[in-house]
Symmetry: C2
Subunit: 334 residues, 2 copies
């Protein structure tokens, strides 16, 4: 689903790349038909795998909830969500307003019956590879039950994306000791320890902020407030680092030459840690899959997100979550 502020060509380029890696998929593109038709000509494979649904209204990044829910009901976002609701499509990939997308998803797609609230999950690069961090902002309220739900949702996601039978799970806290953190965190931790016996969750205990980048666990569980702050702080730190590095390399002729010689490797580092590649948010716990990409995503970010979507669909992530829940539902007491 394309919004009014998205870069159509980058999105089409990204989808085309992903299509070559994931045969037999079809796209329904919700957006301005004229703009899409003009840009899609370059991508022959994509052109034959696409149906365009012409949309004239779009939810903007600044639209208020009242406008989103009542006025712009024929927007590209509404139509895309409805196509999933009506089983015309299997999943939504959106480049629009995150808050609006979550509201419309909750209203129309609804959560899985056993999950109290959906969570936004993201894939973070770390020293060992990647990990799943959730929630990144769907629920800013801290609740033991949400944390446990996040452990289930994150484990399902990690087991599929990282091809691990039992991913390790940690709760983000300000120390490793049992007494650390709020009561909600301690209750969730106690419950998850008990779930270890159920052969479903592999909970290893509390982890700290620096453990995310170390890759101490496959899944990092937190509330949406803390997760959102952590994600944006990490993005800011990465940008600060890049900016200083750029200045440093520009500061003399010799350092420019140095940069030139090392530039291939530098680019590979940038790409491995680039938030533009890693910045999709996976809405977990809904009856259908919804993935949100940054409105200004580059084609690499788009193809990465589309690959994730196809992998989760092919591996029936919903069934995976239900299996987890089946194993533990009589053991959750919060």
């Amino acid at each position: 689903m394309l919004g009014s502020e998205t870069n159509t060509n980058e999105i089409l380029k990204g989808l085309n790349i992903s299509l070559l890696r994931n045969i037999n998929v079809k796209f329904l593109l919700f957006g301005d038909k004229k703009v899409i038709s003009k840009n899609i000509k370059k991508y022959k494979e994509l052109q034959s795998a696409v149906n365009i649904v012409d949309c004239k209204t779009f939810i903007s990044m600044d639209d208020k909830p009242s406008e989103i829910l009542k006025i712009k009901t024929s927007s590209s976002m509404h139509q895309a969500i409805n196509s999933v609701k009506n089983k015309v499509s299997d999943a939504v990939l959106s480049f629009g307003n995150t808050g609006a997308l979550m509201s419309l998803s909750l209203l129309n797609i609804k959560t899985l019956s056993e999950i109290k609230r959906p969570a936004i999950a993201s894939i973070w690069p770390n020293l060992k590879g990647e990990s799943i961090v959730l929630d990144l902002g769907a629920n800013t309220k801290l609740s033991s039950r949400y944390l446990i739900d996040n452990a289930i949702l994150g484990s399902s996601l990690a087991s599929i994306l990282f091809k691990i039978d039992k991913p390790t799970v940690g709760i983000l806290n300000v120390g490793k000791e049992d007494i650390k953190g709020s009561e909600e965190i301690r209750i969730a931790s106690d419950q998850l320890k008990r779930l270890n016996d159920s052969d479903a969750i592999k909970y290893i205990g509390y982890i700290e902020g620096n453990d995310i980048s170390i890759g101490k666990t496959n899944v990092v569980v937190t509330d949406g407030f803390t997760g959102n702050i952590a994600l944006k702080t990490a993005e800011g730190t990465a940008k600060l680092f890049q900016s200083h590095l750029k200045d440093a390399f520009k500061s003399s002729l010799i350092s420019r030459l140095g940069y030139f010689l090392a530039s291939i490797q530098m680019r590979s580092v940038k790409e491995r840690l680039d938030p533009r590649v890693h910045n999709c948010g996976i809405f977990m716990g809904l009856n259908s899959l919804v993935i949100k990409c940054h409105g200004q995503s580059e084609y690499r970010g788009v193809s990465y997100a589309a690959d994730i979507m196809f992998s989760l669909l092919a591996n029936q992530v919903d069934q995976k979550i239900k299996k987890y829940i089946l194993k533990i539902q009589d053991k959750i007491a919060v």
Copy 2:
């Protein structure tokens, strides 16, 4: 104050450097006299500005609160805190257990009468220079009053260290809109907006995680849970970046040469962002100044922390805080 797990030589080297920049200061060193005496010989200036208090007991990083408060009462940390309590010294610089240091400080030095709870502040590098972030873990409970106290403490600190008349203050939140965040955050924000009129605080509203590195405000106010997670996540991200960069530069002969040519600039970036230099925690809101450095600090981190301590003492940070409070105390309603 030196613990059992500290690197004595690095500390002495750092103090010596700071001494050359801050004449007329004297040090009382609480630690193992034999070890200190052996190491201090290299630092002639420091030697003549130091009195060593021989300590045989030390609080370790793993000591439990019961041991700290009841058993090890003659530890180097106890003696250092008592020397401030008894006005023998003006401030404490510690390299020990943060939790123990905070407990002993609260018990013996106590908070300023108008401040409800102390906070740990730190200086973060950003695109424009540096900012003060607090709290980083003294209070993990979120309370409107603590956030307001943190705004006062952070403004005092920033005005002295950055030589700004009225530092800008932001509250860390998950969005810029008024409706974002918990009730405690919203109450604190409303109160701080009103304090703008009192000509004391320059509150600009909510900021997000990435705004810390951008340097949007001089002071970033948050609760100790969120601040601790943000700090450690940023440290982890910086380490991840450095590690990838190191690998990249090692990966071929040409990139090694590139690194060699750019190495001076690379070192300067590393130093500007190095947590070993920036990682001191300033305990704010107590009757005397207490600064905590990492146990494994390098001499640069030690001299940096000592410089901050001398600057805050010379500029009477306590009086500054009291002035802020005087201006606003009848306007705080939480």
